[in-house]
């Protein structure tokens, strides 16, 4: 096995592209090292991306925020500007693991590990976040929901690295939120989770809405119909009831030790309602 620490994205892409055996990208390592120790993967090459220029930075641009792929979630949580603009994304990222895990884990790693229960992913999908992908044939920018394709699988091709996650600049009257259900209060994997992102018009009616569910299907789900039902409303009881129904119906969950299909369906609806209410309040809705 070889460990390398390239300083440029071009070098990293080049090394990955020409790798003969299995190769792995190392960001915070909180999934990768656990899987290596468990014998689930035996990479011949590890490409540590943390020394690549710019990957450790959060930058505010005219379009919004660019969060480098090597930014640990603890650092993201300390960034006041991102926290103010995208509190739901940040609260989701900060739910990952313990303080120790926060010091290492990244939202890009969370996305690329492609767990259906990844905490930051529903919030990123609801936020309409984009991923900047660097690869052997250049760069492309894609919607985050197109990255995971199934548990542990992504749409990234050989040699491709996500170099940053992009979040839009916020208009006025916008809010997002994320909640997960776990039987404990800390250090657990979501049984079901939901992320909601809303913008309101000047009268407090919902103008745009995106709703995403975690641990409810093989990949994080963007529930477009759930977003549509919110548009035009001020989150009255009837709308919330319909939102919950749509979310419960959209789930394709599994039965496992964490929860039954029936339980997950029910809780997906309950969480969607609660998260929508938090996002609405954050957007300034009453």
């Amino acid at each position: 096995m070889r460990y390398i620490r390239p300083l440029s994205i071009e070098d990293a892409v080049g090394e990955l592209a020409k790798a003969v055996g299995p190769a792995a990208i190392l960001a915070g390592g909180s999934d990768l090292l656990v899987r290596m120790k468990g014998g689930f993967i035996e990479p011949e090459l590890i490409v540590d991306i943390k020394r690549i220029d710019g990957l450790g930075d959060i930058t505010e641009t005219a379009e919004g925020f660019r969060i480098g792929a090597a930014v640990p979630c603890a650092v993201l949580g300390e960034n006041k500007a991102v926290r103010k603009a995208w509190p739901g994304v940040v609260e989701a990222a900060n739910l990952i693991g313990s303080k120790q895990v926060q010091g290492r884990c990244t939202i890009t790693g969370n996305l690329c590990n492609a767990s259906p229960a990844a905490d930051s992913v529903p919030a990123l999908v609801a936020a309409g976040a984009k991923a900047v992908v660097a690869g052997p044939s250049g760069k492309r920018t894609i919607a985050v929901e197109t990255v995971p394709t199934g548990p542990g699988r992504t749409s990234l091709a050989k040699g491709e690295i996500i170099e940053a996650i992009l979040l839009d600049k916020r208009p006025e009257h916008a809010g997002d939120a994320y909640l997960r259900f776990i039987p404990r209060t800390e250090m657990d994997i979501a049984v079901v989770s939901a992320g909601v992102n809303l913008t309101l018009d000047e009268h407090g009616a919902i103008k745009t809405a995106r709703v995403a569910l975690g641990a409810a299907a093989p990949t994080v789900l963007l529930v477009e119909e759930a977003g549509q039902v919110l548009v035009g409303s001020k989150l009255d009881e009837a709308t919330l009831e319909r939102l919950a129904k749509i979310c419960s119906g959209a789930c394709r969950p599994i039965d496992d030790k964490r929860g039954t299909i029936e339980f997950r369906r029910k809780v997906a609806g309950v969480l969607a309602r609660r998260v929508a209410a938090i996002a609405y309040k954050r957007a300034g809705g009453k």
Binding site: G29, L33, K50, S98, K99, V101
Partner: protein, 158 residues
């Protein structure tokens, strides 16, 4: 496997070592450098017994590669006391009997040090959340929480 040559700083001292590319920082500390304070409880990031601070960030050394420490500043439990003078947290852990078998203790002390550096006056809830990445099978946690509260008071007075 080719060894990786690493130059780093541990508890203020320049240190150089050669490690395997898949060797963890915890293994390097314990097996190559004789710094056996950090413990391996689980090896998977769940128990916090291996906690160290790297460039000001609390991490599980079992989930860091030894090779990643190149050019970083690592702080371990061995650097916590100044000579014979215990850190207030160490002193308060003794006074409050916040340890029994002691396997979790180095990790708790490092995590508590990091917590108090970032938040000198934590509430009980903040202490419990802040230390949720550290498991203890002996004490039941209450004594640890009280020791951290007491140490926080002492450190604020200092």
């Amino acid at each position: 496997m080719a060894g990786v040559a690493v130059s780093t700083t541990i508890n203020g001292d320049a240190v150089e070592y050669l490690c395997q590319p898949d060797e963890t920082l915890l293994e390097v500390l314990r097996d190559r450098l004789g710094l056996t304070g950090a413990k391996e409880g689980c090896g998977t990031g769940d128990c916090g017994a291996c906690s160290v601070i790297v460039d000001g960030r609390l991490v599980c050394s079992c989930l860091v590669l030894g090779a990643e420490a190149e050019g970083r500043k690592v702080e371990t439990i061995e650097g916590m006391a100044h000579g014979d003078q215990l850190h207030p947290l160490q002193q308060k852990f003794l006074e409050h009997a916040a340890l029994q078998c002691g396997v979790c203790t180095p990790g708790f002390l490092i995590a508590a040090k990091d917590l108090l550096e970032k938040n000198p006056s934590p509430t009980e809830e903040e202490i419990r959340f802040g230390l949720a990445g550290n498991l203890c099978r002996c004490t039941g946690y209450d004594k640890i929480v009280r020791a951290v509260q007491d140490a926080a008071n002492v450190m604020k007075g200092a």
